[in-house]
């Protein structure tokens, strides 16, 4: 599906529910991503820890990791459930964003509950996207732009470090295609529309706060009516 010439992105999916892991794994695989699934935030950090050479800045105890286990593994995006026993998705997000070596990995939060304060909190902490469960194919289509962006960052870093002749090769490459925007717009249906709103930039400089407001404004009424009665002034 639509990923023909692109490099394979690697997604780390975190969910304590077996059924949901199976579902998200399939959703990502059918979209041509490479997928690793784990059932907790600490296992996610353990897996990511193998990508980290040395990061002892965080005072909280990270699970111990053997640094050389997964040499060459790279994660392009983390998608995590919010509500998990022990370390929540929000805790995981914070850990990732606190780590100098992990913070560039985009994090997307999934939750079955449409709690505005929760959405705002996650976006303010640096989550790229807040997806309501159950996750659909149209949601997964929105992940690609985030991975593209970090890939560009990495390419730039590499370019500046690489030798001149190799550099020439890279310049010859066209920029990554942006077909994903078309895909997401085609697949709009009422139930998933609210999340897509957050993706369409309204102005050149969208802060996380602005993004959060967009998410709330765009919420589809039939899915959220009851929950929003009490928080109309939000």
């Amino acid at each position: 599906m639509g990923a023909a010439a692109e490099p394979r992105f690697h997604v780390l999916a975190v969910d304590d529910s077996l059924v949901d892991r199976k579902l998200i794994e399939r959703l990502l695989k059918i979209s041509s991503y490479q997928v690793t699934t784990v059932d907790s935030g600490s296992k996610a950090l353990e897996f990511l820890g193998s990508l980290v050479n040395d990061d002892r800045s965080s005072s909280d105890a990270l699970p111990s990791v053997s640094p050389s286990d997964h040499q060459g593994v790279d994660v392009n995006l983390i998608i995590t459930d919010y509500c998990m026993p022990g370390m929540t998705g929000y805790d995981l997000l914070k850990k990732v964003k606190e780590s100098s070596s992990l913070r560039d990995i985009p994090v997307v939060i999934m939750s079955s509950e449409n709690v505005p304060s929760r959405i705002t909190r996650c976006l303010e902490e640096g989550a790229e996207e807040f997806i309501l469960k159950p996750v659909r194919l149209s949601d997964v289509n929105k992940l690609r732009p985030h991975m593209m962006r970090t890939k560009k960052l990495k390419d730039q870093e590499q370019e500046s470090q690489e030798e001149p002749e190799r550099h020439g090769d890279e310049i010859g490459l066209p920029p990554p295609p942006c077909q994903h925007e078309l895909e997401t717009q085609q697949s709009q249906d009422p139930q998933t529309q609210q999340i897509q709103q957050s993706q369409q930039p309204k102005s050149g400089n969208n802060s996380n706060k602005r993004k959060a407001i967009d998410v709330e404004e765009g919420l589809s009424p039939d899915r959220t009516r009851t929950r929003y009665n009490g928080v109309a002034t939000f």
């Binding site: 304590d16 529910s17 077996l18 059924v19 949901d20 199976k22 579902l23 399939r26 959703l27 059918i30 509500c83 026993p85 079955s112 469960k133 159950p134 659909r136 194919l137 139930q191």
Partner: protein, 155 residues
């Protein structure tokens, strides 16, 4: 029974599951994720759901039988069941869980007990419907037919 008739019966039965609210649009999403590379995806996920939930229902039952009921724990179990039932599109199970959770919040033991019975009832009803659906599909395949795609526009 000839294949054409079996296929028509399957279509009718599937429709009835949507009309009676057993299934919602999420089930169609699951069907979309099934292809030649993964021909048994729907059956696999749904079976996983029933295994997983059976365990959850046992945990729930014993949590509600405690002297001092820990409603937070009960709610956490119901939350899980609600999540996975919504992931496979088992709408009536999910709806029963939503009601259940509101009584967990109120710490209303009597209503929680009633909700447990209701959730169990919906769970076994759903299990029965899914089994019938999958059996019908198997029979069509065994007879050399293909499974007609679910075409329901209003969900």
């Amino acid at each position: 029974m000839e294949v054409g008739q079996m296929q028509r019966r399957l279509v009718e039965f599937t429709k009835s599951l949507f009309v009676e609210g057993f299934l919602d649009g999420q089930f169609l999403q699951l069907q979309q994720l099934q292809d030649d590379s993964n021909p048994d995806f729907v059956v696999e996920v749904v079976s996983l759901f029933f295994q997983d939930s059976e365990k959850l229902l046992n945990d729930l039952t014993s949590a509600l039988e405690q002297q001092d009921v820990d409603f937070k724990k009960v709610d956490a179990h119901v939350h899980q069941l609600k999540g996975s039932s919504s992931s496979i599109g088992a709408q009536r199970v999910k709806n029963a869980c939503v009601v259940f959770r509101s009584f967990c919040e109120e710490q209303n033991l009597q209503e929680c007990m009633r909700c447990l019975q209701l959730v169990k009832q919906e769970f076994y009803l759903a299990k029965n419907k899914f089994e019938t659906l999958f059996t019908m599909e198997q029979q069509i395949v065994a007879a050399g037919g293909s499974i007609p795609a679910t075409e329901i526009t209003s969900f």
